[in-house]
Subunit: 322 residues, 2 copies
Amino acid sequence: MPLSEREIIERIRRAAKKRGPGSLSRVVAGIGDDCSIVRSKHGEDVLVTTDFSLEGMHFRREWHPPESVGHRCLVRGLSDISAMGGEPVAAFLSLALPAKLEQKWVDGFLRGFLTLARKFNVSLAGGDTAESPAGVLADVMVLGSVPSGKAILRSGARPGDQIYVTGSLGDSASVLKALFANPKRKFRLERSNAQLWRHFFPEPRTTLGRFLREKKLASAMIDVSDGLSTDLGHICDESRCGAEVEAAAVPHQRSVDLKLALNGGDDYELLFTSASTSVPESIGGIKVTRIGEVTRRRKVSIIENGRITELKPGGWQHFGSR
Amino acid sequence: MPLSEREIIERIRRAAKKRGPGSLSRVVAGIGDDCSIVRSKHGEDVLVTTDFSLEGMHFRREWHPPESVGHRCLVRGLSDISAMGGEPVAAFLSLALPAKLEQKWVDGFLRGFLTLARKFNVSLAGGDTAESPAGVLADVMVLGSVPSGKAILRSGARPGDQIYVTGSLGDSASVLKALFANPKRKFRLERSNAQLWRHFFPEPRTTLGRFLREKKLASAMIDVSDGLSTDLGHICDESRCGAEVEAAAVPHQRSVDLKLALNGGDDYELLFTSASTSVPESIGGIKVTRIGEVTRRRKVSIIENGRITELKPGGWQHFGSR
């Protein structure tokens, strides 16, 4: 049965009340007033990020179960906060739903969203609802905090810095590739199938990002959401420098094509540069791999089999434009 | 010529850089990183509000020039901040545009958005862009500040408090009514036609809201965005009380029907309750009118020609559902 806007708000409100105790103290007033009130601590900067997730562009209802859509909508913002070395505090969900959407779908979406929120101690503190003219549209805003002046920007890379990436790349894109090749394919989602799980329920590297900030190990950082080639380009643009990537060093599973590891998005690994010689090989159980070096020459290149070529931004294509 | 997503981001970024000096100090880093960074002051709470504005639901491209759409998208959030007695600080714009939208339209939209932002000393500090599957979709988040613990909530009304509203009601809805009656009608938008102007370029009551907070004159407050009957219902729900409104006292222009004044939305006047006996009749040139009283009995009623009836929430109907 489709839900009225009022019922959806009530449902979100009830669901949001079941939040964990940790973040409660920061969110003074949540859903139910003109604004939400977040108490900021002295000496902290507020981080803000917003991400649109549109049906047909960022997910497909035929492919992604509602829990996965809710999860994926939120992870993008959590990952952005992590890429600054920050701590997520509160999330705001603007949700436009087609008039005829089933109640069950909305419940699943909220379950996916809130399960991830609770895991990272984030309150659902507000948002908006509307009737959508076409498909499910979600805009998620995440508020985070970081000690004042300590956020890790994209602009801090310097020539000579080494380039690192966490975990492995291309898992999510290779699942997407399989779905495009066979759109009717139904996956059995099990946590034990790590590669599959990473596409449907990716997790942000929040603890790792904070560790890098606390230990002053990263000069610049970004999350790999658009694909390594594109995201490294962002760091180079903002830092006014270039980069040389060693193809053989880029971490990916054997089943994942190098092209997907270089250009596939949605992995939510962290890509960072460092002037330090003591970046650990693993942080909190997550592998950290050196993949290249920041250069003065403002070009992003890749070295493969001794040959150096330009690494063009070949990042994340939205579903709709393929 | 339609714009690519990259071009839109660049355009927003350039436009956002031309902001006034006042708010610059609060927004440490804006568009161009994973997150925006807003520096919070000691002893301040952060206010957050988000509002979806969807083509066909909240505006029509045939009726609203792009400047008006941009303006109206932002005013909703500024008004929410004002209804807490707060000060807007930064805005975040998530914008999904149809692939074939004209560059000229986007420029007009941004001009409308940024002109209002500058007037209220608000930075455009971030956002997201996407290709829209249907029509223009904007989700606008506004961040504000208020001295810690001093925000005026909806939940503070007490039986015996008097109910006040600023300015006059129903202007915006009566323009909308005229548009629905004659959809092909083209208005000549001139500032001198105040009623028309209020529909296309409404302004938030920011200074007035802050005055009420500073003078401790309001026990509860909301902005009239959904219509008096609905918004008064929100105050009563959150304050667990009722209200009696005197129909004859509700301020509206002679040309505006009482029904529109009671139920029409989008005026962005402030509706507040007060235990004080010294609420001025005018604040900063804006009329303040007593329209009724908060009651213990949890019902919203209206007294008209000596007869008391229930005032049902007959608020703002989205364009799409008429």
